[in-house]
């Protein structure tokens, strides 16, 4: 047939070996050669000499080189197009086959896709958050040079303290490591003069160096001029947010006056948008020291910021500050012995605690991804083993190996793409959940979104896993002797036994990883519970609260006392309100107005300020303790008789009593204290139980309560005890304040339960996320165990049948299979415990009252894991135990 003249046309989709460029060039050459040969023959037949014939043939051909080139290029393009079309056709066919294969095994497909989706989704979500919050530099802040400055007094209290203006003035004068330093006093303005009730605006009163130190420049407009810090001129800088929301971004606002607290202030500048420090403030005004304020060195209530000189490291600056602190302790021994200065980088200050939590979550997510990958690998291996015979047959029948590899690759790829798509959905939902769950003060909350790079990264990892473990068995099947593969029965070839061992190792690893996750979550959970177990010292339920600032509208003490009592009376008149009290500093409240200061005890010789007893002073109304259910331990509470014209009195808490009056009765002692007031001598009339001041994990501190009627402070937080759910009373309390004074701004209208809940959001965030991730890890591990045991029992079908035929009972078979699972669970658990013992230390700062190696947690989680492993093996074990031995044996 091939000898017959005429071409052999390609038939149907029959495959040809496609020529490469060289082959195409040769073909063109051969074609032209043939033509010239024929032409020469024709001319010779007409009687021309060979030379003449050749010359004439070439002449008639024309431009040989150009023809060669044109023909080659054409053919090459044809070739490429054809090849591309073939590849596409094969891919489409492969995908079609792959989808058909997956639909034939919906269980396998579903599990693989869910596993991939969870792995990719959880990772993408958490990593997106971590990336946005932690890994990106602060916007508009020179994090290399801007630092926050704090006082410290380790002898009195751990941690960083706010700054006393008298100290800051000295720092500014003495420190050498800084180009600028600034101080800010938290403040609140009421935005008046608009429609409706005045809106509260948080503010900072800043000193001359502040904007320079923080490195922010108002635009449009300017900062404050030097004389504006001394003249007490009414000028403000406002935030971009306030400019946009209240003044519609009006560019003409700069230079105009706005109304704050009922007075006119000229807006001289607007700070840039998206400022990450100083953030969460709407109004800035120049700080003018009150008389004597810049001499105050014992009472800190301000925030300080510094800009380090170029080239100065934080450690250098800290040394400089240590030097300043030592010098001040010598110059002011009465006030500054033991007072240190501490520096904190701006990034740490802004991002704070979130860092640890997110890093832990990131680690957890990594573990989940590993568990997911192990599952995918195991699934793909099992799937490929099942098909080893089929593959062997196809190789034996002459299927191209490359083609077969591509087919398997497409199957894994299709799975990975489906899983990846589902993963994106999970990631999207995850990010939404993250934002919903996260603490409201989580920095950069609004910025969290999905990041393409992260999606790509997670997808790549899972895809590589899927391909790797999808293709490995295919390669194995091809290398193996075809005859051997064909001869092997479902008892399993050598390859499948090796892969079985590998899958066992994967399951052991999964159990270990899941255990680590569970133990981490368990420790956080236990911390949370022991935190909630803490006694607060007051009642939480059915307490509604609002805060007002009376200073501006009621400038004298007498006016403020009158107004506060009127408001309290109005609240009491609301039906369902059982009692009303008020204080300057409500526990767990975000804006507490109290002051920490030294005091002297009249019956004892006076001590230098630095050694003097210290306490937090809070103002409280007569009924405050009763309304909050703060227990009286001895003596009496305030009475209506404790007025301005009566002897000054104070109530102290147990901590103060125990620390400074150990073994004595403090009631009747007289103390002199100057916090929140001029120094006044007061008689201690009672001792009340401790309350936790700011959070479940904040320890009670020495506290001193002063009756409102003898102080008349302006920043007041009311508490109303209500008969039913407090939240429903909040609007009524608002209304009462507005009725009494429509110009009065209201802050933090809420309930105590809500305030307390707010302090737990951060912990709940970590707990829920780590808990969720560990549950995902556990589920994936269960799927892994279940899958492996199902596969193993199907491999051992014949053996089990023989055993049962020989008299083994169902229970024996079940026990055997579950025992097999336990042989995986035990090493898995050991690995997990070892890993957890090492890793949980990184949780330390997130734990409360629980050691990272808490025995009870470890024991419970191990038991849980053992139970889960048993349950996962139970189903396939029962199924195996129910097999009819005769049926199986006949089949083989």
């Amino acid at each position: 047939m091939s000898d017959a003249p005429g071409p052999r046309w390609p038939r149907g989709s029959g495959r040809r070996v496609l020529p490469d460029a060289r082959r195409i060039r040769r073909d063109v050459e051969a074609e032209i050669e043939f033509h010239l040969g024929e032409r020469i023959r024709e001319l010779e037949a007409l009687g021309h000499s060979p030379q003449e014939s050749r010359a004439e043939a070439l002449r008639r051909f024309g431009d040989l080189a150009r023809t060669r080139a044109v023909c080659f290029e054409s053919d090459y393009r044809i070739h490429r197009r054809k090849k591309r079309r073939e590849l596409m056709a094969e891919l489409v066919q492969d995908i079609r086959v792959a989808v058909r294969q997956l639909r034939r095994r919906p269980g396998f497909a579903a599990i693989a896709i869910i596993t991939l989706a969870l792995g990719i989704g959880a990772n993408t979500a958490i990593f997106s958050a971590a990336d946005h919050v932690l890994l990106r530099p602060l916007v508009n802040v020179d994090a290399e040079r801007v630092v926050t400055l704090w006082e410290s007094n380790p002898a009195v209290i751990d941690g960083l303290l706010e700054v006393a203006p008298g100290n800051f003035v000295e720092w500014e004068r003495r420190a050498e490591a800084f180009t600028a330093m600034g101080l800010a006093e938290p403040y609140g303005f009421d935005l008046t003069g608009g429609d409706g009730p005045p809106a509260p605006a948080t503010a900072w009163l800043v000193t001359a160096g502040f904007f320079d130190a923080a490195g922010v420049r108002p635009n449009p407009g300017r900062g404050f001029l030097a004389e504006e810090y001394t003249s007490g001129e009414s000028v403000v800088v406002i935030s971009h947010r306030l400019w946009q929301s209240r003044y519609d971004g009006d560019p003409a606002l700069v230079g105009q006056a706005i109304e704050l607290d009922g007075s006119e202030y000229v807006v001289v500048g607007v700070l840039p948008a998206n400022l990450e420090y100083p953030a969460y403030r709407d109004v800035w005004a120049p700080k003018v020291y009150r008389p004597g304020e810049d001499q105050t060195r014992t009472s800190g209530y301000m925030v300080a910021v510094g800009r380090m000189r170029p080239g100065v490291e934080q450690a250098d600056a800290q040394r400089d500050l240590d030097r300043v602190a030592s010098a001040m302790a010598i110059d002011y021994p009465a006030t500054n012995v033991g007072t240190g200065i501490r520096l904190m980088g701006i990034e740490e200050h802004v991002l704070g605690d979130v860092r640890t939590a997110l890093l832990v979550l990131l680690g957890a997510v990594g573990l989940v991804l590993l568990v997911a990958c192990a599952n995918v690998a195991s699934l793909m291996l099992a799937r490929a083993m099942e098909r080893e015979r089929e593959l062997g047959v196809r190789v034996a029948l002459g299927a191209g190996r490359l083609r077969l590899l591509r087919q398997l690759g497409t199957e894994s790829g299709t799975l990975a793409v489906l899983g990846g798509a589902a993963g994106l959905v999970v990631a999207w939902a995850g990010v939404r959940a993250l934002v919903a769950l996260s603490p409201t003060d989580l920095p950069r909350l609004a910025a969290i979104g999905m990041d393409g790079r992260i999606v790509a990264f997670a997808a790549l990892i899972t895809l590589v896993t899927a391909l790797l473990f999808g293709l490995a068995p295919a390669l194995h099947a091809m290398r193996a002797e075809i005859r051997q593969t064909l001869a092997a029965t479902s008892h399993g070839s050598r390859g499948s036994r090796a892969s079985g061992r590998f899958r066992s190792a994967l399951v052991v690893g999964q159990i270990g990883l899941a255990l680590i996750l569970l133990i981490g979550a368990g420790l956080l959970g236990r911390s949370f519970l022991s935190l909630l177990d803490n006694e607060l010292g007051f009642e939480v339920e059915n307490r509604a609260t609002v805060q007002v600032f009376l200073w501006d509208r009621h400038p004298t003490v007498a006016q403020r006392i009158q107004q506060a009592e009127q408001i309290a009376a109005a609240f009491s008149a609301v039906p369902g309100v059982e009692g009303v009290g008020f204080t300057s500093a409500l526990p767990f409240h975000p804006t507490q107005i109290d002051a920490e200061a030294g005091f002297t005890i009249e019956s004892r010789p006076p001590l230098a300020d630095a050694q003097a007893p210290r306490a937090y002073t809070t103002i409280a109304s007569t009924d405050y303790f009763d309304v909050m259910s703060i227990r009286l331990e001895r003596g009496r509470l305030f009475t209506p008789a404790d007025r301005l014209d009566a002897p000054r009195v104070a109530v102290i808490n147990e901590t103060l009593a125990n620390r400074y009056f150990a073994g004595e009765d403090p009631v009747g002692e007289r103390i002199t204290v100057g916090a929140m007031d001029q120094p006044v001598t007061r008689e201690i009339v009672g001792v009340v139980a401790d309350v936790r001041p700011t959070a479940f994990d904040s320890d009670p501190r020495p506290e001193l309560y002063v009756p409102f009627a003898q102080n008349g402070t302006g920043g007041i937080t009311f508490v109303a005890r209500t008969r039913t759910d407090a939240a429903s009373f909040v609007p009524a309390l608002r209304d009462q304040v507005q009725t009494l004074d429509p110009e009065q701004a209201i802050y933090h209208a809420s309930t105590i339960e809500q305030l307390i809940g707010d302090t737990l959001v951060g912990r709940r965030f970590s707990l829920v996320l780590l808990g969720g991730l560990s549950v995902v890890g556990l589920l994936l591990a269960i799927v892994g165990i279940y899958g492996l045991m199902t596969f193993a029992t199907s491999q051992r079908r014949a053996e089990i049948a023989v055993r049962m035929a020989l008299g083994a009972r169902g229970g024996d078979v079940t026990g055997m299979i579950v025992g097999q699972a336990m042989r995986l669970a035990v090493p898995g658990i050991l690995i997990g415990v070892a890993g957890a013992l090492y890793l949980t230390r990184f949780l330390q700062s997130m734990l409360y009252d629980v050691r990272p190696t808490d025995f009870a947690t470890f024991a419970q989680i191990i038991a849980l894991m053992a139970l889960a492993a048993t349950a996962a093996a139970w189903v396939p074990a029962r199924r195996a135990a129910r097999t009819d031995p005769m049926k199986v044996l006949r089949q083989d």
Binding site: D3, A4, P5, G6, P7, R8, W9, P10, D27, A30, E31, I32, F34, H35, G37, E38, R39, E42, R60, F61, G62, D63, L64, R66, T67, V70, C71, S74, D75, R77, I78
Partner: protein, 112 residues
């Protein structure tokens, strides 16, 4: 070099090739011979141009090619029309006749 009157009118090479391949699959030399034969040697086409045209036509999908044995037993590349090529032949033939008629009307207005 070539007598200008014997040169092919531009664009007619394609239709000549299509027409030549209408009934038979031929190799390039065969196509050249047939055209010479049919035009009694009045039209002399450059062989190189023929091959360039053939390959371009293959790229456009009007013809397809395959290797086979010529009558002499030598390996040669054969061309045949595709379905697209046949459609093309009709279109090109029709437009040729339109062209001829147009030219004719100018040259011999008496002939209708």
């Amino acid at each position: 070099m070539t007598d200008p009157t014997r040169q092919l009118v531009r664009g007619t090479l394609h239709v000549l090739i299509l027409r030549t391949l209408e009934s038979d699959a031929l190799h390039g030399y065969g196509i050249a011979s047939r055209i010479e034969e049919a035009t009694s040697g009045l039209v002399e086409l450059e062989d190189g141009a023929l091959y360039q045209a053939l390959h371009r036509m293959e790229e456009r999908g009007w013809v397809e090619s395959a290797w086979g044995h010529a009558e002499t037993g030598k390996r040669a590349r054969f061309y045949r029309l595709t379905a697209e090529g046949r459609r093309r032949l009709k279109v090109e033939t029709a437009s040729w006749w339109e062209y001829v008629e147009a030219v004719q009307r100018v040259l011999r207005p008496d002939v209708r």
